[in-house]
Subunit: 449 residues, 2 copies
């Protein structure tokens, strides 16, 4: 184990580490889910269903081709929960490790641990940081699980054992931004229940903010002036997207008889907020997505494409990337030759990383949308939604995945995998590869991807 961390600390090929870890976990998950023990009926799931579900769980995606609650046995559900936990912890720890490596490489003060700038990162540092990440993850899940369990037992009369099971499963699923639910309608039955909805939303947001931001907030939440650029951008963009998304869904769906229409005003606000939180990138739904207005789908797609914070469990191009793009455009419109944010100059490397990640992501989404349109008889509305959902590891669905042909399901499986490991791999690889940097002015590095 010591050797493993020492190796990781030397590793300059994040792509290989990440691909291997996720690939092997998915294969193991597929084998387990293919067993007759894993299904409720006792008839083994076919390999594609097992592969799709295992990939979706490990990549904390949440897209499904079968209903989780009715198709899988309790054993199958536990396998899924474990895969989610491994996938979520894996992405958080690997992202954190690579963030450290990048920080070290770029000679920046490593914010995540206490070591001095010049000290070489070693296996013991990594282990300590990873330990903190795991502890944080488990603590949050315990808190969320407790609240949900209490609500299920006290509010809905579930037996204690069943309530605990439901509470823990959905705590794991929400904190890791996975979005698997044990009800066929996801969380629609709780649309008006603030206990469930706000707890899940909080878990999703905290899990998706990313470890560096969460730990900086914990250390110095009362001194915003000392926050790093990463934290400031992440929080600002997150707040804007959540507020904007809530507002748009309120406006568009207010009178829709199949979504917000029948609810009272508190219910409308709660459901619109929940619907705005889920695209980043949990994928539960408390409204019937298929009945939402096409314009709400478009907004959801944009939110899913952006996703959440860097080095967390969220997917997408990340709110940091969107923030950087906005600052680049803003500086350009003002005719400034440098992109300055809060007394810091954004490095050219960070700018180019943000641009490259975004361009490649758009190209990837366009390519998969094209191929799926060729393969499937469905409209762009449906296909684009599902493709962005697979790319952004969101898992919201308008029904394309479950109705898709085997070839299309294989493609979505691939996209879930690439959407999960692509941005992180790319971001770390790009940052580590960066060479020939100049030092002119105080600069600050921001994680992209």
């Amino acid at each position: 184990m010591k050797l493993f961390w020492a190796m990781v600390a030397r590793f300059n090929q994040p792509a290989q580490v990440i691909t291997t870890v996720f690939g092997v976990t998915i294969i193991l998950g597929t084998v387990l889910l293919s067993s007759p023990l894993a299904t409720a009926s006792g008839v083994p799931a076919d390999w594609l269903t097992a592969l799709f579900t295992a990939t979706s769980a490990v990549c904390v995606n949440g897209l499904t081709v079968v209903d989780t609650a009715t198709h899988w046995s309790a054993f199958g559900e536990v396998v899924i929960a474990v895969l989610i936990q491994v996938g979520g912890l894996g992405i958080m720890t690997l992202a954190t490790v690579f963030t450290l490596l990048v920080s070290r490489r770029l000679g920046l003060r490593a914010r995540l641990s206490a070591q001095a700038e010049t000290r070489v990162l070693n296996g013991s540092d990594l282990r300590r940081v990873v330990g903190k990440v795991v502890l944080f993850n488990l603590t949050c899940e315990a808190v969320v699980g407790t609240v949900l369990t209490l609500r299920f037992v006290l509010g809905y009369g579930e037996p204690v054992g069943r309530g605990l099971y439901l509470g823990l499963f959905h705590a794991v699923s929400s904190f890791n931004n996975a979005g698997f639910a044990l009800w066929p309608d996801s969380l629609m039955r709780f649309a008006a229940d603030p206990w469930v909805c706000l707890t899940v939303a909080a878990a999703v947001i905290v899990g998706g903010l990313g470890y560096p931001v969460v730990f900086e907030l914990r250390r110095s939440w009362r001194r915003p002036s000392r926050w790093s650029l990463l934290t400031r951008i992440t929080l600002t963009v997150t707040a804007v997207l959540l507020a904007g998304g809530t507002l748009v869904f309120l406006v568009t769906e207010w009178t829709n008889p199949r979504t917000l229409g029948p609810m009272d005003e508190h219910g409308k606000l709660l459901a619109a907020f929940f619907t705005a939180v889920m695209p980043r990138s949990a994928g539960f739904n408390s409204l019937d997505i298929t009945q939402m207005h096409p314009s709400s789908w478009l907004v959801t797609e944009l939110l899913m494409f952006v996703g959440g914070g860097s080095a967390g469990t969220a997917g997408g191009i990340k709110v940091t990337t969107l923030g950087l793009l906005t600052f680049i455009v803003w500086a350009e419109l003002r005719g400034e030759s440098r992109v300055n944010i809060g007394h810091r100059r954004l490095t050219e490397a960070a700018q180019r990383q943000a641009v490259s990640l975004t361009v490649l992501s758009v190209a990837l989404v366009a390519l998969f949308t094209y191929v799926l349109l060729v393969l499937s008889p469905q409209s762009l509305d449906h296909v684009l939604f599902e493709v962005v959902s697979a790319f952004g590891t969101t898992g919201l669905s308008v029904g394309v995945a479950s109705a898709a042909s085997p070839a299309a399901q294989v493609l979505l499986t691939l996209l879930m995998f690439v959407g999960r490991i692509g941005p992180l791999t790319l971001g770390s690889a790009l940052a580590l590869k960066e060479r020939g940097r100049r030092y002119e002015l105080p600069e600050e590095e921001v994680i992209v991807g």
Copy 2:
């Protein structure tokens, strides 16, 4: 007139010049098209139809809400042709003038005229360049008009007068990338006629390459090694998009009984090539767009969004911008700290301009798509196609514009206007505003937008 050019030469606010010129022309056109003389029936067109058509003509867009051939009188058609000519010449000359201003400002060798680098650009220079642009435009239209007239008279038995009228109208419409046609089915009846299709395609490509590229080719087409970066990027990206588009349409539509299906192999190739040329950004069609596969729509949308060359009659973000983005991503993937293209380093200013233009364009298209989805009951497939077509001044239609509510038509009118003057305005404004530039290495400027 002399005074006018002297003023333009001093002008540092391209946005104001362009907006004024285009706005005034559109208002004049709307007044003329509102007259009872302009319609075939003698009943004056309503103001929105007149405004939409005038905007579409001046912005060389080609989207229509009424059939051009049957709704308008000969007088109306001539007004449309004149508006196209004014709009096309306007965009070409203004783009050229601003290119010169930008070149002067940036201290680059002005490629478009013979003046030395240090010489101050004055009214007389501008007049000479504009004269060359106008002469070139009229010469090309005369050649294209002659070929088309001969074909209509000799091949289809049109009387000489009518043939000349049709030939000139479609020469103006194609060279200026306008896409207005005098047949209700656009050019579908000529789908298998290489004389018409290849002539129109050639006019569209040459008109859309942009004046700087065309003149550089004319001067030194036998010495590719001396071509500027702008010319090399424009030609390469153009070739890739045309070949790629042709291939995609061949593959996707080969067996479609309503498009390529019934044709022989030569016909298929011709129609696929024509369909690949038209999104940049002429907007004629020889296939029934509404019957194409949704995946072909997606590819068409991407091509329309990109458009053609800078400082020509084409719209979109321009092939140059796409080329720059590709080079930025490529350099980033190779871990290079500079973006080098063919022994030249791309300026940071050009990179940021390309990124800003693209981001703003995507935001614009997303915003208008959202609003139109809210306003209209149609699917994303249809709305996105029409919005991108309006933005890219392409004018290909899947029927949304003609069926749209007045509010939606007003929005599309606005988008046609912004899509036409936005990229040029933005590109020139950004380049002129740029300040505090450093000079480190040989750099070369590329026009973005």
